[in-house]
């Protein structure tokens, strides 16, 4: 089954409290912008590991997930 950006978005939202999430992708390569207060206090590596943990075995058919992870504060400052 082909993985859609919408599915990746739902998978992440099921396990992570997201203020904002946007996912683009072609079925194998995805790009995500994820804003969550659960990222607060974590370094970039821990933030990415948290998203991968939420995705778990669903990462199998996902060849690559390029991520930008932000806390709500960082998101507000960026906008």
């Amino acid at each position: 089954m082909k993985v859609t950006p919408e599915m990746v978005k739902n998978y992440i939202q099921q396990g992570l409290d997201c203020e904002h999430i946007h996912v683009d992708g072609d079925g194998r390569h995805f790009e995500a912008v994820i804003v969550s207060k659960e990222f607060a206090g974590l370094g970039m590596l821990k933030q990415h590991q948290l998203v991968y943990k939420v995705l778990g075995d669903r990462m199998g058919p996902i060849h690559a997930l390029s991520m930008k992870t932000l806390t709500p504060e960082q998101w507000a400052n960026q906008a």
Partner: protein
Amino acid sequence: MDAKTIALEKIRKTVTENPIVLYMKGTPQFPQCGFSGRAAQVLKACGVDRYVAVNVLADQEVFDNLRFYADFPTFPQLYINGELIGGSDIMVGLYEQGELQKLIETATAH
């Protein structure tokens, strides 16, 4: 020991015995994936000319098991002094902040 244990031990040995290790698809000269190519370019931009690049496409055990080593399921992966730094997004992010250069400087200073 099963194949997974052997592979994880091999990875541990590689990342702890070498200051800078990049697990990638292909080689720095001929990367087989855009993200791996970007990772090699970031190291080059940091002025790193000597590091261990492991082509995961040429090592099935490492390819299958690297994701378990540091709970990171994608390639490339950069290790400095035995610690996972991250994949290509994190490498680019740290490079833009000037942090990757510092980590590398510390790792290669003798």
